[in-house]
């Protein structure tokens, strides 16, 4: 299960992270934009799973970003793992990967998901 610190939205409102996440599969980028580095093949695979993309910026990241890791807990958590996390609706991690592993990781995951 992924940690759940308080995060801050662009309006300065703070709440526990899940309150800002869609109640579905989420592709979370911690200090990374989950859409940016993905190939079009990877994006098509994600779309098939109706995954929502969410990026959480570090505490000292640029202002005006959608969500910020104000406590630093997510940034700390992510030091030990790749930047992209596929979260299940119950907030357990389904997969973790780097940009270059995205397609392979997704294909593996889809095979499991569909079986």
């Amino acid at each position: 299960m992924i940690v759940q610190p308080k995060v801050e939205n662009a309006n300065g409102g703070q709440a526990y992270m899940d309150d800002f996440l869609p109640e579905e599969f989420v592709l979370l980028g911690i200090g990374a934009d989950p859409g940016a580095g993905l190939s079009s093949e990877a994006k098509t695979l994600w779309a098939e799973l109706r995954a929502k993309f969410v990026s959480i910026a570090p505490k000292n990241g640029p202002s005006g970003t959608a969500l910020k890791d104000v406590t630093g807990a997510l940034t700390e958590w992510r030091r030990t793992c790749p930047p992209f996390v596929r979260l299940r609706p119950d907030r357990f991690t389904a997969a973790m990967f780097n940009t270059e592993d995205a397609v392979a990781s997704l294909k593996n995951f889809m095979a499991l998901y569909k079986s």
Binding site: M1, D19, E23, D90
Partner: protein, 177 residues
């Protein structure tokens, strides 16, 4: 003729069934809860709710209501038959946004979960409804039964879920009985 009911998913009204009904409510899935008892439980049973369950209540949008009636951050010692501690769950906060362990009163908790389902028009809970037979085809599952007033019903859905202890009829075909 039996009363005809339809849903995507059908199940019972214990703490797990009602939790699932609330989650399905959030996801917009038509859900029918068929419960043989007249009400949710009236006597205390389970007492401990862990951090994963606490987080699930957050997903249901019920954590503020339910945590108001819980003691959050309790310490639990699990003992074996010789009285030796085999697991110790520490008190206090967790990194997961919800207390590591909370103590709850099951009758209050189940009532809160039931009231939570009222937020959704597509979730219906029917008490005094005893399922007597379950069957399935390739396309759907059917639960047939009778209410306390003697009215028969036939409920069809894509899924039938047994959420109870092993006594649920739904478990029997799955176990080959």
């Amino acid at each position: 003729m039996a009363r005809q009911l339809e849903a995507d998913i059908i199940k019972g009204a214990g703490p797990v069934g009602l939790s699932m009904a609330n989650l399905l409510g959030v996801y917009g899935i038509r859900t029918l809860v068929l419960e043989q008892n007249a009400t949710t439980v009236e006597e205390p049973r389970a007492i401990g709710l862990d951090v994963e369950s606490g987080r699930a209540l957050q997903s249901m949008g019920l954590e503020k209501i339910t945590s108001a009636e819980m003691i959050q951050g309790v310490e639990l010692d699990y003992l074996n038959a010789q009285g030796r501690t085999i697991m110790d769950v520490e008190a206090g906060e967790s990194p997961y946004g919800s207390a590591q362990m909370s103590s709850f009163i099951q009758p209050v908790f189940e009532q809160q979960l039931l009231e939570g389902t009222n937020r959704f028009d597509h979730v219906t809970a029917l008490f005094n409804s005893q399922v007597e037979d379950v069957s399935q085809t390739e396309n759907h599952a059917t639960a047939r039964g009778v209410t306390k007033d003697g009215e028969t019903f036939e409920a069809r859905a894509q899924y039938l879920v047994g959420c109870g202890d092993g006594r649920s009829l739904v478990h029997r075909p799955a176990a080959g009985r």
